[in-house]
C-alpha cells in the first residue's frame, strides 16, 4: 500500500491536494507546495474544515488543521478510506478558491511584556542545567539574538515589527490551546532557529518565536522556541468559575491577534485581574476577506522581496544553536 492515496489538481486557483494514508483511522490531506509557508493554503484548510463542520461527512469524526494540511479522523466501521477521500474531493470542489474566500475570524488584543523576568528565569535555568554555551543566549536573553538573526539594528526594531502586524492563528495544537501565529503583513516576517537541545521549562503565557511562527505557551511545559516575552493566560483548563474566557481555550484556528506593549509591572497587574476574574479579554467577532489580503500583499511585494533578502543575509552571519 502506498503512502500517497491520490493527488488531485483543483480548478481555478485552489491549491493542489495530496491525500495521504495515515493508518486505518485517519487521512492526512496536504495542500499546495511542500516547502512554502503560504497563508492562502492555510486559509483554504480553514475553509475546508469549516465546510465539513457545517455539512458533516458520514463517518468522519473530526478534522484538525495544520499549517498546510488537514488531519481527518474517520470511523472504519461507518465508512472507508476511499469513501472519505471521495467525499473530501467533492468538498474541495465546493469550497471557493482562496481568492474569493471570506472566513470567520475573531480579533484578539493581548498585552505583551518583552524580555520579562520569567523569560529570563527560563533562560537562566537552561544555561545552568542544559547548555551553558548556547549561542542563542546573549546577556541572559534570547531577544538580542533574535534581533541580530533577523538583521535588525536593535531589539526595539524587532519589537516594533512584531507590534505592527496582526498575527494569524494558522492552527491550535501541540499542547491544548497553543496557537501557531503567522504575520498577516508579509513585511513583518521574522524567523528564528529553535533551541538545541530543547529547554526543559517555560512559563505559562510565554511568547516564543521558532521558524516563522510565534507561539504562546498555554501551560508550564518544555519548549524550543526563542523567548520574546510574556502575555496573559490563554487557556483555562480548570474552568475557574470566575474566568471570563468563553471557551477553555482562547485561540481557535483563524483568530487574529495584535500585541500591545506593556511594562512587566502592568502585565503582572493584568494577570492578577485574570486570576481574580475581573479582566475582560478583548475579543471582537469578525470576518476576514482573503481577496483584500491578497491585494495588500501584492501592493507591498517589492518591500517583501527586499526584506526577504535582508533576512536571509542576516541569518547567514549568525550562529545557529
Amino acid at each position: 500500500m502506498a503512502a500517497i492515496i491520490e493527488r488531485s489538481e483543483l480548478p481555478e486557483d485552489r491549491p493542489t491536494v495530496t491525500y495521504r494514508s495515515a493508518g486505518d483511522r485517519y487521512v492526512l490531506v496536504e495542500y499546495g507546495a511542500e516547502a512554502t509557508v503560504d497563508l492562502c493554503a492555510n486559509f483554504f484548510v480553514h475553509a475546508v474544515a469549516r465546510r465539513i463542520a457545517a455539512c458533516p461527512i458520514p463517518g468522519v469524526a473530526e478534522t484538525a488543521p495544520g499549517l498546510r494540511s488537514l488531519l481527518v479522523r474517520f470511523s472504519p466501521r461507518q465508512t472507508s478510506q476511499s469513501a472519505v477521500v471521495e467525499a473530501l474531493e467533492a468538498v474541495h470542489h465546493e469550497v471557493p478558491p482562496p481568492s474569493s474566500l471570506t472566513v470567520p475570524s475573531r480579533r484578539i488584543v493581548l498585552p505583551i511584556a518583552f524580555d520579562d523576568s520569567t523569560s529570563r528565569e527560563a533562560i537562566h535555568r537552561y544555561l545552568i542545567t542544559v547548555r551553558p554555551d548556547a549561542p542563542n543566549v546573549v546577556n541572559g536573553n534570547n531577544v538580542d539574538y533574535v534581533a541580530r538573526y533577523n538583521g535588525f539594528a536593535d531589539r526595539e526594531a524587532l519589537y516594533s515589527t512584531i507590534l505592527r502586524t496582526e498575527w494569524w492563528n494558522a492552527f491550535t495544537g501541540f499542547y491544548p490551546g497553543l496557537p501557531s501565529l503567522l504575520p498577516m503583513d508579509p513585511r513583518c516576517k521574522v524567523a528564528a532557529p529553535k533551541y538545541n537541545p530543547a529547554r526543559t521549562w517555560t512559563a505559562e503565557g510565554a511568547v516564543g518565536l521558532g521558524g516563522p511562527c510565534i507561539v504562546i505557551h498555554p501551560l508550564e511545559t518544555p519548549g524550543s522556541y526563542q523567548l520574546l516575552g510574556r502575555t496573559l493566560p490563554i487557556t483555562d483548563l480548570f474552568r475557574n468559575e470566575r474566568s471570563r474566557l468563553l471557551d477553555p481555550v482562547l485561540f481557535l484556528f483563524g483568530d487574529r491577534v495584535r500585541f500591545e506593549r506593556v511594562e512587566e509591572s502592568e502585565l503582572i497587574e493584568l494577570r492578577r485581574q485574570v486570576f481574580e476574574g475581573t479582566y475582560e479579554y478583548r475579543i471582537e467577532v469578525g470576518q476576514y476577506s482573503i481577496a483584500e489580503h491578497l491585494a495588500e500583499v501584492s501592493r507591498v511585494s517589492d518591500e517583501v522581496r527586499s526584506r526577504h533578502l535582508e533576512l536571509t543575509a542576516a541569518m547567514r552571519e549568525v550562529k545557529v544553536p
Binding site: M1, R25, A61, E62, G66, P76, F171, T172, G173
Partner: protein, 339 residues
C-alpha cells in the same frame, strides 16, 4: 455519597490507595477524542485491549473509567463490596488479603479487603484494574481520562497518591456477574514484539528511500528507556532519506511544515523513531513514516522501556479491519466464561 456533574448516578467510596506505585492514573476509553483542533490528544489507556477486557470481566461497559498501573507495585483497600479484575502485564502476583488471586478474571471483594499487585516482571509493562460500576471522577471535556501534562481529568488531574479515595458508580454492584477470559483469547505478551503498521503518511519514495523503508520493516528496534505515555522511542538509526533537507521546515530531511499527527503515528524525530502515545503532542513538524494499526496500539502500551524489541510488519486496510474485529470478538461477553 457524592455525584459527578455529568451524570446523576450515585457513587460510593470504592478504593483507598495505600501504595499507588510508579504513576497510577484513572483512564477511560476512548478518552478525550474530538478535540484535536483545540490541541488535545485523547489520553486514555496506553493498552486499550487489556483495559477494556478488565472492564468487561467485572460487568462494566468496555470504556468505563479504570486504573492504569505502570510496572505494577500497587496496594489498595476495598471500601465496598463488588468485583475487581486485574489484566495486563504478566509475571505479576496479585493477592487479596495475602491470598493469591488470578489475573484476567473477576474477583469478588468485600469492604476492608486488601488488594496488592507485585512489581510486574513481564513480559508486558502495564496493569489495568477495573472495579464493578466503574471509577467515578468528574468528566473534563467529555472524558475522565487523566492528562498529566495538562493537569486535567482523573483524580485532580494527577497520578494517584497514598490515602487517595476513589469512588465508583453504585447500582446493582453486588448482583453483578463476573467473568474470566479463556486463556486462548488472552493477548500474548513477549519480549520481542511484532507490531502491525500501515505505511505513511510520509514514507517512500518522497521521504524515505526504498532501502530505508525496507530497513524500517526489517530492523529489530530497541525500545528506549525514556519511553512513556506521551511517546515510545526506538534506538537512533540513520536513514539515507530520499531528500537532502527539509528546506524551510528545518534542516533535517525528516522536517515538514507543522501539521497534526495521528494517534499511533511513527515520527522520524531527526534520527529517532518515536511512536505517539495517548498523551502525545497533537502536532509538529516531523515526517510520520508509518502509523500503528489502531487495533495494535495496545502492544505499544505493553512495551518494556529499555528492555523489549520490536519488529514492524506492514499490513493493509483489510488486515487492519480484521485485527479490529478480533479485538471486538474478545470483548463480547459470550466469549467469556461466567463465574
Amino acid at each position: 455519597m457524592t455525584s459527578t456533574g455529568h451524570t446523576d448516578r450515585k457513587t460510593v467510596p470504592a478504593l483507598e490507595i495505600v501504595d499507588p506505585g510508579l504513576q497510577t492514573t484513572v483512564q477511560d476509553y476512548p478518552g478525550r477524542l474530538g478535540l484535536q483542533s483545540l490541541g488535545f490528544f485523547p489520553a486514555g489507556p496506553a493498552d486499550h485491549l487489556a483495559f477494556r477486557v478488565a472492564n468487561v470481566l467485572v460487568g462494566n461497559r468496555p470504556g468505563a473509567a479504570a486504573l492504569e498501573i505502570p510496572r505494577g507495585r500497587f496496594h489498595a483497600v476495598a471500601l465496598c463490596s463488588g468485583l475487581v479484575a486485574v489484566c495486563g502485564a504478566s509475571g505479576v502476583d496479585v493477592t487479596l488479603n495475602d491470598r493469591p488471586v488470578p489475573t484476567w478474571q473477576a474477583v469478588p471483594v468485600s469492604e476492608g479487603d486488601s488488594l496488592r499487585c507485585s512489581v510486574a516482571r513481564g513480559p508486558g509493562f502495564r496493569l489495568y484494574l477495573a472495579v464493578s460500576g466503574g471509577i467515578a471522577v468528574p468528566e473534563v471535556f467529555g472524558s475522565m481520562s487523566t492528562f498529566l501534562v495538562g493537569g486535567i481529568g482523573g483524580l485532580d488531574g494527577r497520578a494517584l497518591a497514598p490515602a487517595d479515595v476513589l469512588n465508583a458508580y453504585a447500582g446493582r454492584t453486588a448482583r453483578r456477574r463476573g467473568y474470566r477470559l479463556p486463556v486462548d483469547l488472552r493477548p500474548r505478551y513477549t519480549s520481542d514484539w511484532e507490531i502491525e503498521i500501515l505505511r505513511g503518511p510520509h514514507a517512500d519514495p518522497e521521504f524515505l528511500t526504498e532501502a530505508d523503508y525496507k530497513e524500517l520493516l526489517s530492523n529489530e528496534w530497541r525500545v528506549d528507556v525514556s519511553s512513556d505515555r506521551a511517546a515510545t522511542r526506538f534506538h537512533p538509526h540513520r536513514f539515507r532519506w530520499a531528500r537532502d533537507s527539509g528546506d524551510i521546515a528545518g534542516g533535517h530531511p525528516s522536517s515538514v511544515l507543522d501539521g497534526c499527527y495521528p494517534l499511533g503515528g511513527i515520527l522520524a524525530y531527526g534520527d529517532t523513531l518515536t511512536v505517539l502515545g495517548p498523551d502525545g503532542h497533537v502536532s509538529g513538524g516531523s515526517a510520520v513514516v508509518a502509523t500503528v494499526a489502531h487495533a495494535s496500539l495496545w502492544k505499544i502500551g505493553q512495551l518494556r522501556p529499555g528492555r523489549d524489541t520490536v519488529r514492524l510488519r506492514e499490513i493493509d486496510l483489510d488486515q487492519a479491519a480484521g485485527l479490529d474485529e478480533h479485538a471486538q470478538f474478545i470483548l463480547r461477553p459470550e466469549q467469556l466464561e461466567p463465574l
